[in-house]
């Protein structure tokens, strides 16, 4: 519930900041991160409702990973082509996309399976982003295959010059797929090391199966050592620690043009997906924890926090309303976008048009 009479910024103590160990984030940065986290959370919670109301079907997403993802998205070198960072994401990275500038309505469009969904034209599950202008390649529902693509984008970045990095993200359970190991090998070919930032968001589970029950290797970062890949494990619930761990990791990849591994310990606040009912798990909530710190440090007061939430709710509701009026795909759209136009194809010079 938003409260009236929030304290205006200027009245607060000078230079409030949020500190972890000997690292800190300025009030301005905290406010920016917080706003992203809230907007992501509110959007995802609205989507969970949509999955129950029939406005959408399946939900899967990032509540519990907002702190880490917001810090990541804000530090991406955003742009198109090998001079910029490439992002090979999974399905819990909405906060990173929002940090990069994604409008919430675009997330809602995908959840509502609209033709206007800019990521998949109403074809893919929510959270399966794709954005060419930002080098966000299509998220595939197939776990971990992004790790065998990462060496390809990173190779082009290294060849191009500059400091573009390939950021590839997987879950803790997914690291059991051989593709994770392939990325270790391909990104350290002697003389051909590649600027790949291998991220794991470790929430301790793959659906119902605990990480601890299947993995003797506690952190994926340990697996890099045999390949000379440095790594770090960070508390993904702490935006301060996350911010600087990501900064260090990116700096290493950008400057050395070599791989780095970072594992963030995160929560999975609404369970695996709407298939498991999406009840609240009771795990530590990075947003609630951050807000306590923001209040304690006087970066924001309760009223200001409430305003952020209120604005996010309004934004999402407006989005849901508008999206409800947007067109669905039609029967004619089913074959669209199968093929790119080709001058050397006599059957499909344009798109796919059914059997030859």
């Amino acid at each position: 519930m938003p409260k009236k009479n929030s304290m205006p910024m200027k009245e607060r103590a000078v230079k409030p900041r949020i500190v972890t160990g000997d690292e800190f984030l300025s009030a301005e940065r905290c406010v920016a991160i917080h706003r992203i986290m809230v907007r992501a959370r509110v959007m995802e919670e609205r989507m969970i409702k949509m999955s129950k109301s029939g406005e959408g079907f399946f939900w899967i997403g990032g509540p519990g990973e907002e702190a880490f993802n917001a810090c990541l998205g804000l530090q991406v070198k955003k742009g198109e082509g090998p001079a910029f960072d490439f992002l090979l994401l999974k399905y819990r990275n909405s906060a990173a996309m929002i940090a990069m500038g994604m409008e919430l309505i675009d997330g809602v469009r995908q959840m509502a399976m609209r033709w206007s969904d800019p990521f998949s034209a109403g074809r893919n599950f929510t959270g399966h982003f794709s954005r060419k202008g930002w080098n966000v390649v299509p998220v595939t529902p197939v776990i971990e295959v992004q790790f065998v693509m990462a060496p390809g984008t990173a190779l082009m970045q290294k060849r191009h010059g500059g400091d573009g990095v390939t950021i590839v993200i997987g879950g803790d359970a997914g690291s059991a797929e051989g593709d994770f190991a392939s990325c270790l090998i391909w990104s350290t070919r002697p003389g051909n090391e590649l600027p790949v930032l291998m991220l794991t968001t470790n929430n301790g589970f793959g659906i119902s199966t605990s990480h601890a029950s299947q993995h003797s290797c506690e952190h994926t970062t340990e697996r890099g050592k045999a390949f000379g890949i440095p790594g770090e494990v960070v508390d993904g619930n702490d935006p301060v620690a996350s911010w600087f761990a990501i900064e260090r990791a990116l700096r290493y990849c950008r400057s050395t043009r070599r791989p780095f591994m970072l594992e963030a310990m995160v929560s999975r606040l609404y369970g695996h997906s709407s298939s498991s009912g999406a009840p609240h798990s009771g795990e530590p909530d990075c947003l609630a924890l951050f807000e306590e710190r923001l209040l304690a440090a006087g970066v924001l007061d309760q009223a200001a926090l409430d305003q952020v939430h209120e604005a996010a709710h309004a934004e999402v509701e407006a989005a849901v309303e508008q999206v409800a009026r947007e067109a669905k795909p039609t029967a004619e759209d089913v074959q669209k976008f199968t093929y790119a136009p080709s001058k050397v194809d006599s059957v499909y010079p344009g798109d796919y048009t059914g059997l030859p």
């Binding site: 399946f58 399976m113 109403g122 197939v142 997914g174 797929e177 659906i207 199966t209 669905k328 074959q335």
Partner: protein
Amino acid sequence: MATMVQAVRLALHYGEENLGVTDVFGQDVGPPLGGVFTATQGLKTAWNTPLDERGIVGTAMGIAYAGGRPMCEIQFCDYGFNTIDLLKVAGNQRWAAGGQWDMPIVLMTPSGSGIRGSLYHSHSFESWASRLAGWKIVMPSNPLDAYGLMLSAIADPNPVMVLLPKALLRLKGDKLIPGEPENADELKKMIDAPVGDRSRWQPRWPAIQEYFVPLGVASLVREGDDATVVSYGRTLPLCAQAADQLRQETGAAIDVLDLRSIFPYDWKAIRASVEKTGRILIVNEDTEVTNFGEHLLRRVVEELFYDLSVRPRVLFGKHLPGIGLNPVYEQNTVPQLGPIKEALAALVQEEA
């Protein structure tokens, strides 16, 4: 009556107790979940694996080599496409090694559309699977057949793939599994894990009986002289429904063959029906280029060409990269009741 997931669970239990099943395993197959469709809840040999399909298939092979009888699950057939080389090896090792080793593995995986699964929970697998020489492939369309085919899959000493139609997993059958309690609620209480904490839950298994649906035997679910329709899995009940409606509306009587075994398929049954009717429609929901139904059509053309009264027909899924999430996509990508009925009507009506 049991649902198909319950039938599968009962069959696996029967297999553990009577047919030597040593391991039921896969992603989320063991406690606490017992499978994303709950098909493996409460089974005494069920265990969870790392998220690694190649490890699952390979481990099943190793268990079989060492004398075990494993049943492994690929959570959705959509996620088995990185294991085709292993499936090939499982199917060829006996032939390659001059018959030394059996390979009694069962691989179970949900297949097909119908659960709003979007790109990667809507794939069909039977056309791929039918190309795996050395394997046997089955796909039930009702709980009793699921029970009987699973028992045969377990008893057979060769690799057998059990494709479970995603769309039909939660539907109840209309025939009791031998030994199944008559009251469905009672069955539920006995073998479905409760919602919430399951750590101390134990199933109470009904005294179910042996019941094999032999591999390679189709089931004639509707009978008639006017045409033949061959199908299996999700599209089978739609074919039966279409035939029923046509019968009522036009009096046309149609043989509806539930293939049940995709390989080996029941060629005798298909032949007998086509010799009788001279008209055939083959229906499945897999993509239409190099589709297993095209193989059946080829057999028909090869051996029964001069018995055909009219052009033989097929109805398959579109050759497209996937099935989209918005229902508009799914409805216009894979066969639904309407188009099946239209195709059947056209088949019956065409002048010979």
